[in-house]
């Protein structure tokens, strides 16, 4: 009668601290260049060691340029951050996938963890990044943390936390053609609110999730935090095991079967008790786009913006109440990020792009989530489809998901984006506007020059 969350919590609880919080052991600590330098400095000041360097892995993603990656970077601050991470990892004995040599594993931290098989069911995972919830797609309990907590995990491999409540979200039904995991999670956030998940871990299940790939489940879990839930997860099943088998850091041979047996029993029991339950019918979900300045402000592509829509968001975005987002002219199209920068995302987008051209006024870029995604996509010829259509084909990184590298919006540009946040200023211009949607919808917008319903393009046969 227990949930995976509670089983994992209990297996990792060290003790109750005098503060009343639980000291929780962290099975995997992922580190990147932005939220770690201050943590390492604090460690150094105190004279502390990294407690479990062999359970700590680092990569570079946020600040890396995706176009010209030669060192030193043109941006001296970015270079300084790279150098700091390289030095910290060397000094404390932590594996780092940087650029240059060994770059084949470099990529966005939430893409490479699962890709390498570092992320496994039943683990506790921490990373100084709010989208750490992504790793829950494999049945891990993964917490986004701040820099002081990064220091704590480095020093003690533990976090001081209060337990969460668990909300079971059943998504049932079959997604219509042209509707993707991104549309499902945008719909969930719209329905439960950007704050609805505060205090909860979201456990996603139901027939829609059961039939999803791990990539799709990652898209869903990734955006849990946009719904206020710090943790999101899917119970491990045969899909999970198939995904993990053969990955670099996954157990192999007979150990894999023993692992799978443990993973099976760590899943939520059939009669598990939840603090709350929500059911969503996925067969009625349309391709979904945001119109506002938080990820809960979205509409189905056929829908109109509600009369009750938030004034600040409407003014900033330049939409009217009762208007449709469909038909909105775009300036930039961005396919990438830890939400939708995996191989399957690029494949879905390429299906739309194949044989078409990016509209002449649109700047379009595809940024694979990792070097491995990039290599795999190139092996399938996707880079040629994108390049021929007029997309820029980039190196791996966070790119235009946030504004810490050269990829940024300018002025009031409108960006069709497969990323996860449409906050004011998120893509680098204080007045820039972001419309979140699935990679296929971004591809459709790129070639049409405006937001369109990708379902119409599935039927057309381009010449």
């Amino acid at each position: 009668m227990h949930t995976l969350f509670h089983k994992v919590w209990d297996a990792h609880a060290v003790r109750i601290l005098p503060s009343g919080q639980t000291q929780l052991f962290v099975g995997l600590h992922l580190v990147h260049e932005v939220t770690s330098p201050q943590a390492f400095d604090m460690l150094r000041q105190q004279g502390w060691r990294v407690a479990f360097p062999e359970r700590t892995f680092a990569t570079v993603d946020h600040i890396v340029p995706t176009k010209v990656q030669t060192r030193p970077f043109l941006d001296v601050m970015a270079e300084e951050m790279m150098v700091a991470l390289e030095r910290n990892c060397r000094e404390y004995g932590i594996s780092l996938w940087s650029l240059g040599e060994g770059r084949e594993h470099q990529g966005i931290v939430h893409v490479i963890g699962p890709e390498l098989g570092l992320t496994q069911p039943g683990m506790t995972i921490a990373c100084g990044d709010s989208h750490t919830s992504t790793h829950g797609a494999l049945g891990a309990i993964a917490f986004g943390i701040g820099t002081s907590q990064v220091r704590d995990v480095l020093a003690s491999q533990c976090l001081a936390l209060d337990p969460l409540k668990v909300r079971r979200i059943d998504v049932n039904g079959t997604l219509a053609p042209g509707v993707f995991a991104k549309d499902v999670i945008l719909t969930i956030i719209r329905r439960l609110g950007v704050q609805g998940g505060v205090g909860f871990a979201y456990e996603y299940g139901g027939t829609t999730l059961d039939s999803m790939t791990i990539d799709e489940r990652m898209t869903i879990c990734n955006m849990s935090i946009e719904g206020g839930a710090r943790v999101g997860y899917v119970n491990p099943d045969e899909t999970t095991f198939r995904f993990l088998r053969g990955r670099t850091f996954a157990p192999s041979g007979a150990a894999f079967d023993r692992a799978a047996a443990w993973w099976r029993q760590i899943a939520s029991d059939a009669d598990a008790r939840y603090d709350d339950r929500v059911t969503i019918d996925s067969s009625s979900i349309e391709p979904t786009v945001t119109w506002g300045i938080n990820p809960g402000q979205s509409v189905g592509i056929g829908e109109r913006i509600a009369a009750s829509a938030d004034e600040e968001a409407l003014t900033f975005m330049g939409f009217e109440r009762g208007a449709k987002v469909e038909g909105t002219r775009i300036d930039v199209a961005f396919i990438g990020s830890c939400t939708n920068g995996r191989l399957s995302d690029l494949e879905e987008a390429a299906k739309i792009v194949r044989g078409r051209r990016v509209a002449s006024h649109v700047k379009a870029l595809v940024v694979p989530g990792s070097q491995a995604v990039r290599t795999a996509a190139e092996a399938k010829g996707l880079h040629e489809i994108f390049s021929k259509a007029g997309f820029e084909w980039r190196g791996a990184g966070c790119s235009m998901c946030l504004a810490m590298n050269p990829d940024k919006l300018e002025g009031r540009q409108v960006c069709a984006s497969s990323s996860n946040r449409n906050f004011k200023g998120r893509q680098g211009s204080p007045t820039g506007r972001t419309l979140l949607m699935s990679p296929a919808m971004v591809a459709a917008a790129a070639v049409s020059g405006e937001v369109v319903d990708v379902r119409h393009m599935l039927q057309e046969v381009p010449v």
Binding site: H12, A13, V14, R15, L17, P18, S19, G20, Q21, Q23, F25, G27, T35, P37, Q38, W48, A51, H62, D75, M77, E80, M81, G128, D129, S130, G144, I145, G146, T147, S148, Q149, D152, A155, S156, C158, L159, A160, D162, V194, Q195, V198, I225, E226, G228, R230, F256, R258, A259, W262, N294, E312, L402, A403, M404, R421, F423, G425, R426, P430, T431
Partner: protein, 199 residues
């Protein structure tokens, strides 16, 4: 920064009312200011884009200069986990936040910096914000034990979760040393986990 053994019993000072729901950490501290290896000078960049767009932004308003208590609305600090946001606020001088609700990560990040985030209902927050807007010099006191926040003769009931409250009262709001206390127990838990000891 204070040491983790300093009890925080109450916070007093002037207030800064910042209205609006869902103020995310990208707005509190735009990403470009995260391109640094320290937290130094972050206080200069708080709400930089919002302040540029709106000259009347409370963080531009000289009447609120030197404030120690920030008063906000719903879901403050949502989005990115960047500690740079509460670091900027703490370095600016904010010692307590009173609001309707917070994102969990922001709440926790603030707590370990010794900045309690009190919650109160909509009407109470509105009254507090209105009072400060009318009379910015009003001295405010937020009491950790009782959750009572006073602004002149205005008195509102706010609260902290019991464990967090107790941590501030006992001075144990920064858990690092506690986490390091019993490393043998940590090892034992690790060794019990099949993925650590080997399947």
């Amino acid at each position: 920064m204070k040491s983790s053994t300093t009890a925080i019993l109450s916070v007093s000072g002037r207030g800064l009312p910042l209205r609006g729901n869902d103020l995310d950490t990208d707005r509190i501290m735009p990403a470009r200011f995260l391109r640094a290896v320290t937290f130094e000078s972050l206080e200069k960049h708080l709400f930089e884009d919002d302040r540029a767009a709106n000259p009347a932004h409370p963080f531009n308003d000289a009447r609120y200069a030197g404030a120690r208590v920030l008063v906000v609305n719903k879901n403050f600090g949502c989005g990115s986990s960047r500690e740079h946001a509460p670091q900027g606020l703490a370095r600016y001088g904010i010692r307590a936040i009173v609001g309707e609700s917070y994102s969990e990560i922001f709440f926790g990040n603030s707590a370990v910096l010794g900045v309690p985030c009190f919650t109160a209902d909509t009407a109470a927050i509105d009254a507090l914000q209105a009072r400060i807007e009318r009379a910015p010099v009003t001295p405010i006191t937020a009491d950790v034990a009782t959750g009572v926040v006073t602004a002149g003769d205005l008195r509102i009931q706010a609260s902290l979760p019991a464990a967090v409250r107790d941590a501030f009262l006992s001075g144990q709001w920064n858990p690092t040393t506690m986490l390091l206390d019993r490393f043998d127990e940590v090892r034992r838990v690790a060794d019990r986990l099949p993925y650590v000891s080997g399947f």
